[in-house]
Symmetry: C2
Subunit: 470 residues, 2 copies
């Protein structure tokens, strides 16, 4: 029995009896024998001398393996008695990993929200990483604070002042893992301050509204018309402590907030002590003129600015920022947590170097040309091939709103995936996907993200879209 | 008045009237004049022709600047009437940034929890980053999922199997920003599943206990003795749905969980359906023998393993992982959130390449030698210079527990900062800083983090410590 066991152990488990890994191999073989039940709980093991002789290896190697497995809890050893399999070690089935969900392949992805990922400036990013790793002080590799690295905050403050008219001292800037993270942080602050409602636009990112709801806030809606959100309606919402807006380029309808409304919403904030949450997700991308500055510049005491690299660079970086009025900076830091959910310091310092070297500006300029060209091609193609559609909104951003005849939105969205039983492989969203649950469904439109395909996939995606449009 | 204003504008604000930035400079000068109140709300601006002539610049440049500022909400322009400063634009004081807290300089930092930051392997990390950026598929730069990049999960699964005896399919691994983030995620899952209590060790990281408390969980304590946490007490806690342990190297007392207790706690989990949360913060660092494998290997269905690079590499990376029993993987993903608090993809892919290339193992081996030497030096120095102290715990990890005579703990902790009115600049923690609020204060000891100083600062820190010890 003893010999048999030892033989079967070395045979069955392909135990390699040479080399420095011998002890480890023996340990793993024993563990496996226990797991599979071949060695039952309570079973007595051969002495290390015997097993060593059987296997032709040093007794000491076996003794070491036993000792390790005792320490790990697989075996027990009592003074003056044999080594045994620990009594509790029931047979445990190998865990079954969760099944990955099967998804049908999307050939033409025109969903909004993602830049052209094939354009990520890998070489320039690596260059910035080299600079960052060379220059970083040792303490940068320690636990960071909730605001993020000072190098990045300074670079962001300069960048936002230069490109977006944002007025901020670096101390007011908080690095986040993206706009969502920033919004969650602010929602928590507002909730703690007793705010019950944050007004949102009738059309917007559902995930943003959900963050607010998860924080325990109600989200009454403001209508959106050709001049952006109807901020005058805030006066009918006495409980609203803040309003979430996309002033530069309303998402997804694509209009700009009218100057009078910019002024009016700042007025509202001053009058009521409320906060304007300015989601400037794609403010850098304007094609018909230079970008309109951020609302934040009008009143840094009443506007929280949310910026992100997700559209300008890559969502995978998880890099965004809040510009905070000084009076809530400390509360936001507490809500974010002292040493918890921060970004990796290498990515932070790399981004700082990427901005400082001018690479960020250069990349944005290049992408602006690319996206502008795509938008022009899209508009021209629709004019030619889809006479019943109408492109609306600014010449800006990474998506357009395409109005379609009443009743056609669902048909196109569903038809882009399947034509009868033939898989079309085209992914587009209707405006309905972005509508506030309380808003009337009075508009049929598609939200076409023209930045999503890679350069080589773009013309195919455009052709596929034209095929399904009315 | 008109001319005077124009002159003072160009003079006071050092408006550079040449070059392509002219319009931007004029815009900023006008904004500043409005901010500071020099241009009052409602004030009429000179026509673009007049101001252009006054300043000696093209009328069109002025008109463009006006148009921009109208779009931003600083100015108003009505058909057929003059451009005016927007009526709402009250003078806004420049925001006062929050004051940084002044902290006295620490010359000798022997607080536990941080590795030697000067040893961060910058060149190898950069090499891994180059590999990562070269090999990454485009889609890696898109929105990631809650589990993290597959490349890293696979590398971690292999690494943990090899070095810690962890049994896991990559699908069970969830990348986090560190052990805290992982713990918060699990706490949320347990709370949602109706768990009311998580047992913790009488000594541990206060921030971990606080994460559980914040999640709405009670944290009854298990005593800790020379064999680690007294897990038999779990039977007196019928409401405990999980237990948080540091089995390999109890923090901060430095003992290992006895093999019988490892078996017993797994038994408890199986019997009750509870979970063992294994915080393996420094399991790689054992100096007297090879590291004892993780409890997770005994029963992957009932143990959640929490790993981190914060001790082995650098806390600034914010990189850790959970190994999840398959039955809670999906719940953990939901708790973590679909696209929110993830790590930057470049850091994730770099870590995957860093592990795959063998750099991580090499770095840990090198640091093991360094820390072992420091620990030996510390033990020898205390034996010689601090006869009333006693080092306890395993030869392992990045900190030691040093027992001091009753009543001496507070004296040393405070005396290390100040000697009378002289700043000593030595930072150490007493064990009291890590004691559960319900635990009796029956032990006076210091927790000395010998990994914190840089190589050049180490001997000075050790000497400073010896000076204040009894």
């Amino acid at each position: 029995m003893r010999e048999e066991w030892a033989n079967s152990l070395s045979e069955d488990l392909h135990l390699d009896l040479r080399g420095p890994r011998l002890r480890d191999g023996l340990m793993e073989a024993l563990r496996e024998a226990i797991r599979t039940g071949r060695l039952a709980p309570g079973a007595k093991l051969p002495s290390s001398r015997t097993l060593g002789a059987d296997l032709g290896i040093a007794r000491n190697t076996v003794a070491q393996a036993y000792a390790e497995l005792v320490a790990e809890g697989w075996l027990t050893a009592r003074q003056g008695s044999a080594t045994r399999v620990a009594p509790r070690t029931e047979t445990v089935a190998a865990p079954t990993p969760p099944k990955p969900r099967h998804r049908r392949r999307i050939d033409h992805d025109l969903r909004p929200g993602q830049p052209d990922l094939s354009a990520f400036p890998r070489a320039d990013w690596l260059k910035a990483a080299r600079r960052a790793l060379t220059d970083a002080p040792d303490e940068a590799f320690g636990y960071g604070g909730p605001f993020g690295r000072p190098e990045l905050r300074e670079a962001v403050a300069g960048y936002l002042a230069r490109t977006r008219g944002v007025r901020a001292h670096p101390d007011q800037i908080m690095i986040c893992t993206g706009a969502s993270h920033g919004l969650m942080t602010i929602a928590q602050v507002l909730k703690q301050r007793g705010v019950a409602e944050i007004a949102v636009e009738s059309y917007g990112l559902p995930v943003h509204r959900q963050h607010l709801v998860k924080a325990g806030l109600d989200t009454p809606r403001l209508p959106v018309d050709a001049d952006g959100a109807v901020v005058g309606h805030l006066d009918d919402l006495p409980d609203a402590g803040a309003v979430l807006l996309t002033p530069s380029h309303q998402f997804p309808t694509g209009v700009a907030l009218h100057p009078d409304r910019r002024a009016a919403v700042v007025d509202w904030a001053r009058r009521t002590g409320g906060l304007v949450l300015e989601d400037d997700y794609d403010g850098e991308f304007r094609y018909d003129r230079s970008p309109v500055g951020a609302v934040q510049g009008l009143d840094p005491e009443h506007v929280v600015y949310l910026g992100t690299t997700s559209k300008a660079l890559a969502p995978g970086l998880r890099l965004g920022w809040l510009v905070l009025p000084p009076r809530i900076a400390r509360l936001a830091a507490e809500a974010k947590g002292e040493r918890d959910l921060h970004l990796g310091v290498v990515d932070q310092l790399t981004m700082a170097a990427f901005i400082a070297s001018g690479s960020y500006d250069r990349h944005i300029r290049a992408m602006r040309l690319t996206y502008r060209r795509r938008r022009d091609q899209l508009v021209a193609a629709l004019a030619e091939h889809a006479p019943h559609t109408r492109v609306t909104g600014l010449s800006a951003g990474l998506q357009v709103l395409v109005d379609v005849p009443a009743g056609e939105e669902d048909a196109v969205v569903q038809g882009s995936a399947w034509q009868g039983s033939a898989w079309q492989g085209l992914a587009v969203y209707g405006i309905g996907a972005f509508r506030h649950p309380d808003a009337p469904a009075d508009r049929d439109a598609l939200v076409i993200g023209f930045s999503t395909p890679s350069a080589s996939a773009w013309s195919g995606a455009l052709a596929a879209l034209c095929r399904v449009l009315p």
